[in-house]
């Protein structure tokens, strides 16, 4: 008997939980993709004949789409296969299916693609060597330009007593879900079925419909247990190929990526360069200018979601009277930019926090004290004019500062202690619906979303229903349905699951209780209790088993069904400040302050994190063990981004480290003791005032480690990640 706060722990430990890689059907074929082996090239021909000559093999490419889709046309900007031009290393050119996995791999290798080289843009800085001194040419490969300002920044900077400037570089990082993308597709009864390891079954349905040009009502998406997503499984990736292969083969097809393929194909955070200038007079920030070049890979013009978002985070959670921000989304020959846990926020926090530390030092003030005078609080307005709701950043900063000071007092030689802040917003804007079924013996939450590993579905939604109804968790379960039967939800991402979907569950529970209350009579708050195996409804002195309150139809259908819905409250920024592009308001304000102690080997550049403390503004704690685990996991992932993880591309745009040996996620050996503190009382956008926790814990980590290294060595690092070689080089230069 396994005891855990996670209801899914037993099946996962016993190996009985089915992931995408475990999908199997009688007569199933194995799929494989043919990936382009150069980053930019003219695709002169794709010869499938050698693959098709192999036993039991089907092979498809761009020319086959029209036949396979009965003449339907998908979004011309998102073709599944390259047809005339290859735009990034690893772009799919063709797909094959065979009776065995080895047969599929052999067939993929047999496809002959003739690819003539074209010039490659691999490095965003190479495109703009003069930036920001010289303006960007109109012919430059720009996917988006965002620009906002308030006040006369030139004048404010000119007149400021002190101006600090810095240039920072951030690296591309990968999600590295332990389970690469995997799905199984079948086409039967006129429906396109796909079962997949995804963060968003409804998102996959919408994507597949767009890419293949078939109506959503003809597509059914079911989920599996998910071996990690971290943003990489929020949209479709393998699903359209598996469906096309299933159609071509007339049989179910499983398509599961290898790690190498997941690295090459995956959409994730790409490199950036940021220039920052901050002016200070009498100890107060008077103006800030931020310029950003963000690599967005082959993101399409108008489809770049990242740049406006990124630039918002680059303003930081600080009061700034005058500002100007300008960002360019630069197209390179890499896969499109995609979400990676808190897209770009850890990178932005590294830049903002590192820069702020230099500003504070330039005026001779302790960086924590400087922050305390500038952090946003409820009632303030952000740089972009949004009113700040309940925000616990001052409080987490105050508590983290005390820990920093205590650790610093005992730190020995070679040691340094740093502090970093981060902010985020619970993304409750996207809509969610929930259905609950109250039976005589318990409560069922009907879901299309799957548990992706964080506990937000398997524990978080159950905890929400527990709070709403009073029922113990043993009597509440989640049942998973495909998109044809489940209530709609936007997806398990953006720290929104408990925040948005949890409210829908709460609303559905309250609707069920209200319906019950009309039948029970009595007055006051209605609660449910478990008496033996029986659910009992209680209000005041009234007390009856739910069984006796159900109609005959409800008893026949398994219980009283109730629906709940969540839509985010409208939030606005001051659009008059926007010159060009999209900037986004926040649903709430979620703060975190981290403290790290590091040991720096000044001769080798090696950094070891000795201990770590995290203070999080969470609104209310919905489930303590799950929340703690989220924070610990986020910090470990952040340590990877801070110290060892970076995607490396060759000058001709090939990803040089598409594997777990050279793309270095942390091992347990590098994980320090982590102390987690929750700060409650600053209500967020989630149910019961909760704030999302999926993303906040990764955000302050690189900033915090940089500050600790600065404290240990006196040297400020301006480029992520802080590998021993980079640290040694910075120390040598200093």
């Amino acid at each position: 008997m396994i005891r855990s706060f996670r209801p899914d722990a037993g099946a996962k430990l016993a190996g009985t939980a089915g992931f995408g890689y475990d999908l199997d059907r009688p007569g199933m074929r194995f799929g494989a993709l043919v990936l382009a082996a150069r980053a930019h090239g003219r695709l002169d021909s794709v010869d499938l004949a050698p693959a098709r000559a192999l036993p039991g093999v089907v092979a498809i490419a761009a020319d086959d789409l029209s036949t396979l889709l009965d003449g339907a046309h998908g979004d011309p900007e998102r073709p599944p296969f390259a047809s005339r031009e290859v735009m990034y290393d690893g772009q799919p050119i063709a797909a094959v299916a065979a009776p065995t996995l080895a047969g599929a791999r052999a067939a993929a290798a047999a496809v002959v693609a003739t690819l003539a080289p074209l010039p490659v843009v691999a490095d965003l800085e190479s495109v703009f060597p003069e930036w920001p001194e010289a303006p960007i040419a109109s012919s430059a490969p720009i996917a988006a330009h965002v620009h906002a300002r308030r006040g006369d920044v030139d004048r404010a900077l000119r007149e400021a007593a002190t101006v600090v400037r810095g240039t920072y570089r951030t690296s591309g990082v990968h999600q590295v879900a332990l389970e690469p993308h995997a799905c199984l597709a079948e086409v039967r009864d006129g429906l396109w079925h796909v079962t997949t390891s995804t963060q968003s079954p409804f998102g996959v349905r919408e994507d597949v419909a767009g890419i293949l040009g078939i109506p959503e009502r003809s597509i059914v998406v079911d989920g599996t247990w998910v071996g990690g997503g971290f943003g990489g499984k929020g949209a479709s990736l393998v699903e359209p190929y598996a469906l096309l292969l299933a159609r071509a083969a007339g049989a179910p097809v499983r398509l599961a990526l290898t790690y190498r393929e997941a690295f090459r194909l995956g959409r994730t955070t790409l490199p950036s360069v940021v220039r920052m200038e901050t002016g200070v007079t009498d100890g107060a920030i008077v103006a800030r200018r931020v310029r950003l070049l963000l690599d967005v890979g082959t993101s399409l013009p108008g489809r770049d979601f990242a740049t406006g978002y990124a630039i918002g985070f680059l303003l930081g959670p600080y009061r700034t009277p005058a500002f100007e921000v300008e960002g360019y989304a630069v197209r390179t020959h890499k896969p499109p930019f995609g979400p990676h846990r808190a897209p770009y926020a850890p990178q932005a926090a590294f830049v903002v926090e590192s820069h702020l530390n230099e500003v504070a030092r330039a005026i001779g003030e302790d960086p924590a004290a400087f922050r305390a005078r500038h952090v946003l609080a409820e009632g303030d307005r952000t740089a972009l004019g949004q009113e700040v709701s309940a925000f616990g950043l001052s409080e987490v900063l105050r508590r983290a500062t005390a820990v920093r000071d205590a650790w610093r007092r005992d730190a020995g030689p070679g040691r340094g202690v740093g502090l970093g802040l981060g902010f985020w917003a619970t993304n409750t804007g996207a809509g969610g619906e929930a259905r609950v079924l109250l039976s005589p013996t318990g409560l069922e939450i009907v879901q299309g979303e799957r548990e992706i590993g964080s506990g937000s579905v398997a524990v978080g939604l159950v905890a929400a229903a527990e709070r709403s109804t009073g029922l113990p968790r043993d009597a509440i379960r989640v049942t998973y349905r495909d998109t044809s039967a489940a209530p709609f939800d936007a997806g398990v991402f953006g720290s929104r699951t408990v925040g948005a979907l949890g409210q829908a569950v709460d609303a559905a529970c309250r609707a069920a209780l209200a319906a019950l209350g009309d039948r029970l009579g009595g007055a006051g708050e209605l609660r449910l209790e478990l008496e033996g195996d029986e659910v009992v409804a209680i209000r005041g002195t009234a007390r009856r088993p739910v069984r006796s309150l159900l109609t005959p139809e409800e008893r026949r259908d398994g219980g009283l069904a109730a629906d709940g819905r969540h839509t985010g409250a409208p939030r606005t920024i001051d659009e008059s400040l926007v010159v060009e592009g999209g900037f986004y308001p926040y649903q709430d304000f979620t703060g975190a302050a981290h403290v790290a102690e590091v040991d720096v080997d000044r001769e080798t550049g090696a950094v070891r994190v000795v201990r770590y403390a995290a203070f999080h503004d969470v609104g209310v704690v919905v489930d303590r063990p799950t929340a703690t685990a989220q924070i610990e996991g986020g910090i470990v992932m952040g340590l990877g981004a801070a110290l060892t993880e970076e995607s490396i591309w060759s000058d001709d745009g090939r990803l040089l480290n598409p594997g777990l040996l050279d793309y270095r996620i942390p091992t347990l050996g590098e994980v320090p003791p982590i102390d987690v503190t929750f700060v409650e009382g600053f209500a967020g956008a989630g149910p019961f005032g909760a704030k999302g926790l999926g993303e906040p814990p990764i955000i302050p980590v690189p900033a915090t480690i940089a500050a600790a290294i600065r404290d240990a060595t006196g040297v400020s690092l301006t480029e992520l990640p802080f590998t021993p070689e980079r640290v040694a080089r910075a120390l040598k230069r200093a």
Binding site: E603, R608, P666, T667, G669, E670
Partner: protein, 283 residues
Amino acid sequence: MASFHVSAPPTAEEAVRELASGAPGEVAVLAGGTDLLLDLDEGRARPARLVSLRNLPWRTVVWDGAELVVGSTLPLRALETVAGLGERHPALFEAVRAVGGVALRHRATLGGNLGRSAPASDLLPVLLALDAEVDLVGPGGARSLPVDRFLRASRETALGRGELIRAVRLPEPRPSAYLWQRVRPANDISQLSVAAAYSPSDRRWRVALGGVPPRPVLVPEASTPLDGPAPSPAAVAAGARRIAEHPALVSDRRASDEYRRGLVGVLYTRCVRAAARRAGAAA
């Protein structure tokens, strides 16, 4: 991964015969497979047959007087737990502990590491500094080679067609040390490593450099300045200057030449000092 046939002959003679019957590239030795598997997976090697050594009686480790004899198929995890290894061959103990994680060391072998001869091997610099002898068996009978002659270039050894590594012999316990630098401390490939050992019998030092192309090498010019078991700071500084001039300190995708040149003297100095401390403790 292409398909292949695996055999596991019960005797060395049969294993040698099976190996010798195949053309190079057509047959490969499986002695743990932790490195070979990557080549198979990536399609860099496509042997039709693998000859597994798992049934051979070479999973042994014995102290023969001062000499330590390690059977070539002994898993590194078993070597690591040999009583007295840390005291008598501290550098070897440190190097073995630097290979992968525990799970990997349950499969990886000393013979496999030698036979595959990877430039970044953590074990080979130590075997060089300890003057290891490699015992071979092949179609022409048995022979022994010093490890420095056994290793040729990156992934190239003196192994002849059909020849197998039977055992590795370390002639005497030596105060020694092994230090490496990596981007990530665990489960990573060393960007640079240094092994140093002091021989009580000939009263000389051996210093070897690892993590550099084309193969780990002895650096005699960095050991000659070292005067006795407790070398003077001036001697260590002289050795550190010399090792930093080594031509193998070049740029590749793991590190720049600038970093390696700055680092090598640091690792060398720490390594020699650690070995000298152990020599002092042993005296």
